[in-house]
Amino acid sequence: MEGFGVNLAFWTLAVLTLGSAGGVMAARSLFHAVLFLIVAFLGVAGFFVLLSAEFLAMAQVIIYVGAIAVLLLFAVLLTPRADRNNAETAMAAPAVLLAIALAAVVIFVIQDTDWATVTASPELTGAELGDALLSTWILPFQVASVLLTAALVGAIMLIRSSDEEAEDER
């Protein structure tokens, strides 16, 4: 990948995504943390576009920003004000060490390995992704739909209050 635009996009997105991910860590209010998370999701969608996966980038924005982030905001809204801080537990220091160690190891492996890469982008369209999902990956596709249904039913059952259950039994 060469060219001014691609480079500009990559470095902007890298700073944006990692910076807002750090913002999720640093923000003092849980609500602000979710807002930083939304920016990080958008940055990741930008990376998807750079990696020529436009369909998945749009799916990322629709699902993560349009659904999951809204769900998180709702969850923050439904917790009481006292619990809306974004504080750390006593395990924060070991967690920092672990995260740094992990990042160091993984980045070392990335730099050390001699990757067999191609320079030309494989031309992948949304139609090909659809074909692959409905031919090679048809079984995982069906399992994923069952999983979504199970998650839907499970979430509804978990969130129901005892009043509503009593109402149903009547």
């Binding site: 001014f4 749009m58 809204l77």
Partner: protein, 421 residues
């Protein structure tokens, strides 16, 4: 007639993309690629926004809407500032800029400041994928429709955040309502558009226009049910008046806009019109053939055709706004889940069946087949809507409600529409 087809010359105003290409090539020669990038962005947004959108937004959106609604409600509408009140939008803008932008003490100031900006940005970004002509499209990406849906889901988030930041219970009610509405109506909206995608076999808006140009039939005839669902769902997403419960002033002051004043409020107000215009442009592109007009697009500039069709749809929005009363939140959510969702799912089944039939049979006279399908689909649409309403227990009144109520209390109903009298 090749003579009349749009040429590659920069002065051919039927295809403005030539002009921008000439400018960009000149800039790239003079200064190099990086500057050309910036200029390309500027041209794309300045041209589409300032030339097409802003005049529409100010003249049609603010002035025309108020004037039309005024006429529908037997008023004059704005008629004081300038000739015919034409300068009313300018006066409004000056007033809004002068006003003080208040911020409550307990508000989340940073979020309250950012929310209008986040609300405005997607309204501009939406226009990137609307094709104004065969070449006049800022980003001709293969997943244009998904891009539109993705970007159009951002303003609801901004409105939610805005409502939360005020620390005001009415704002919070508005915010909760807007999210509930968006989540509910997003599902039938996407299902309805999926019907069109199945029919045309593409996610690219420009290719949809080409498909309608080739088959010489508009999708609105082939997919009347999808259009009805789309129109209702999109006006719910846009918070237009029959369904604007997120800022219902008779219930929750002004919803998520309660604490905004001055130009911050003005941005929300102006961009509501911007979103309605963008949605009209999308509807015109998908359902009414976009920039094509039965071959006339060789003579008339295609972008003029698209702007005309956009305003046709925008008039539909104004019309519903001027005519229908506001609904309650529970009515609207019930409507989305119990009526629109099954209807759009049924539409999807029908269009999938038709698509399979079309693909598996190789008919010679495709045009006739499409017109036949259109007739079948219109009949099916009526049958499904009426049938589903009957299934859910709705019985149309033989006597309209208002005359019946009037006659029940012993009043006099002057016209014969009462029937029962």
């Amino acid at each position: 007639m090749p003579f009349f087809a749009a040429t590659e010359n920069w002065y051919d105003f039927r295809d403005l993309s030539n002009l921008s290409r000439v400018i960009l090539e000149g800039v790239a020669d003079l200064t190099g690629e990086p500057v050309a990038y910036v200029v390309a962005i500027l041209i794309g947004f300045v041209a589409s926004f300032l030339i097409f959108v802003l005049p529409s937004q100010l003249i049609v959106g603010v002035y025309g809407e108020r004037k039309l609604i005024g006429r529908m409600q037997s008023r004059y509408g704005p008629n004081r500032v300038g000739p015919f009140g034409l300068l009313q939008p300018v006066a409004d803008a000056i007033k809004l800029i002068q006003k003080e932008a208040l911020t409550p003490i307990a508000a989340d100031k940073a979020v309250m400041y950012i929310a209008p900006i986040v609300f405005v940005a997607p309204a501009v970004l939406l226009w990137a994928v609307i094709p104004f002509g065969p070449n006049m499209i800022i980003a001709d990406i293969p997943v244009a429709l998904l891009y539109y849906l993705a970007v159009a889901s951002l303003p609801a988030l901004a409105a939610f955040v805005a409502g939360w930041s005020h620390n005001n219970k009415y704002s919070l009610f508005g915010a909760m309502r807007i999210v509930a509405m968006t989540i509910s109506y997003e599902v039938p909206l996407v299902l309805a558009l999926l019907g069109v995608v199945l029919l045309t076999g593409t996610l690219s808006l420009n290719e949809m226009v080409f498909w309608q140009k080739e088959t010489t039939i508009w999708v609105i005839l082939l997919q009347p049910l999808a259009f009805a669902v789309f129109f209702i769902a999109v006006s719910a997403e846009l918070n237009r008046t029959p369904v604007d419960i997120a800022e219902a002033e008779s219930e929750i002051v002004a919803g998520y806009l309660t604490e905004y004043s001055g130009m911050k409020w003005g941005l929300f107000y102006g961009m509501d019109i911007g979103y309605a215009l963008a949605a009209s442009a999308l509807a015109a592109t998908i359902f009414l053939g976009g920039w094509s007009l039965f071959g006339l697009d060789k003579w008339i500039p295609p972008w003029m055709i698209l702007v005309g069709k956009t305003h046709l749809f925008y008039f539909l929005f104004i019309w519903t706004r001027g005519t229908l009363p506001r609904l309650r939140i529970d009515q609207l959510l019930t409507y989305a889940w119990k009526y629109l969702l099954p209807i759009s799912a049924a539409n999807l089944l029908i269009v999938a069946t038709e698509r399979v039939i079309l693909v598996e049979n190789d008919w010679v006279d495709k045009d006739l087949i499409y017109w036949l399908l259109a007739a079948i689909n219109i009949v099916l649409a009526v049958v499904i809507v009426v049938g589903w309403a009957r299934v859910l227990g709705y019985k149309p009144d033989s006597v309209p409600t208002r005359p019946r109520l009037v006659s029940e209390v012993g009043g006099y109903v002057p016209y014969d529409a009462a029937g029962g009298r």
